[in-house]
């Protein structure tokens, strides 16, 4: 009986909190995420902290806890900066809010990259631009290596981790294996291993 009334009180409190959730206009969702999308140079975690400051601290659209839940889901598929925007948009205004937030976040970068791409394919045969781009090529590879170093530190652990990393590297480099096949095999192996570990805890 007590448990029941507690549960009910909790539910009514939950409803109360839901009512407290601010009603945010779609236009505000769009402009907020468009501004974040336009100023978030630096990518990845830098953008996430920008979003947290804006939506959690300043606008108080959602609590830090909810933000962290959303962030955990965001890592599943695709870029997590985009996913967390979708999550917050959904949280505020449902499916349409999520889509508007995603559009808002991507549109500045989309416009800029379209312009740059158009300029690139129009002018990349100019010798000056070609020289400049040649200068960037080695740095692009440096950038990829930095990403590899960072990901290695945070995700490659233990014998299994190193074995998988080394096998997929050698598969792709020495045997020219398809990246897609390596990913699918990695996923199957990972699933089997997780199920096994769960059963034999």
């Amino acid at each position: 009986m007590l448990a029941f009334s507690l549960a009910r009180r909790e539910r009514s409190c939950y409803k109360f909190c839901m009512k407290q959730k601010p009603r945010v206009s779609l236009r505000e969702i769009f402009t907020t995420f468009a501004i974040i999308g336009a100023t978030g140079f630096g990518g990845g975690m830098a953008i996430v902290s920008l979003i947290e400051r804006c939506c959690v601290d300043k606008k108080k659209w959602l609590s830090l806890d909810e933000f962290m839940h959303g962030l955990a889901f965001s890592q599943i598929l695709g870029p997590f900066s985009l996913n967390i925007c979708t999550f917050i948009g959904y949280y505020l205004r449902g499916v349409i809010g999520g889509i508007i937030a995603a559009f808002g976040f991507i549109s500045p970068s989309f416009s800029l990259i379209s312009l740059l791409t158009w300029l690139y394919f129009r002018f990349h045969e100019l010798p000056q631009l070609e020289s400049a781009l040649k200068g960037t090529n080695p740095v692009v590879i440096g950038l990829i290596l930095v990403a590899v170093a960072g990901m290695t530190k945070s995700t490659v652990k233990g014998f299994n981790g190193w074995a998988m990393a080394i096998l997929s590297f050698s598969g792709a480099v020495f045997f020219k294996a398809d990246a897609l096949i390596i990913l699918v095999l990695g996923a199957i192996w990972s699933l089997v291993r997780c199920v096994y570990l769960q059963e034999h805890k």
Partner: protein
């Protein structure tokens, strides 16, 4: 039109296996765009990565670049829409069944378990791109300098790329 449909299908497939953050796109797009369909040359691909770093968006803006090359402006639109379709749909689905997904321990662990393979693939992409495109002491010096700056300072990658472009421009790299 048929071209755009094919483009949509290709990018939808890429969107479905877009795990472990943006960098997995480098091996995937390299294989599909450069080796398989030949929509881009290797040089153009590397230049596209550089350009995508000049935008505030995720590395996935590389998809817009490759789509643009394959199908003009609308190709870029289609590529961007379809590469982000799976992750946005998934995110909306998860958010609406929020409570059920709270303890999806197995799914999360499985996905974390794939990451070492992603690391291996991205390292392999760096290796493949490097062995084809780098030549001479000049390139390796720039590579080392870029790596050290990006690894040990908090300078924005955008400025490092622009700086490297300026070096190439003023020293007339050919």
């Amino acid at each position: 039109m048929a071209g755009l449909v094919k483009l949509a299908w290709v990018f939808l497939k890429i969107g479905l296996i877009f795990v472990g953050g943006g960098y997995v796109l480098i091996p995937l797009l390299h294989r599909i765009m450069v080796d398989q369909y030949r929509w881009l040359t290797l040089r153009e691909f590397l230049d596209g990565v550089a350009l995508s770093q000049l935008t505030p968006g995720p590395l996935a803006m590389l998809a817009t670049f490759t789509g643009f090359r394959a199908g003009g402006f609308w190709g870029g639109v289609i590529a961007t829409l379809f590469i982000f379709l799976p992750c946005t749909a998934l995110m909306l689905a998860i958010s609406s069944h929020y409570e059920k997904f709270r303890d999806m321990e197995l799914l999360r662990k499985t996905l974390d378990g794939i990451l070492p393979a992603v690391v291996g693939l991205v390292a392999a992409a760096a290796w493949n791109l490097g062995t084809i495109s780098l030549a001479g002491a000049r390139d390796f010096t720039l590579l080392a300098a870029g790596f050290l700056i990006l690894q040990f300072t908090r300078i924005n990658p955008m400025f490092v790329i622009l700086g490297a472009g300026a070096i190439g421009f003023f020293f007339r790299f050919s």
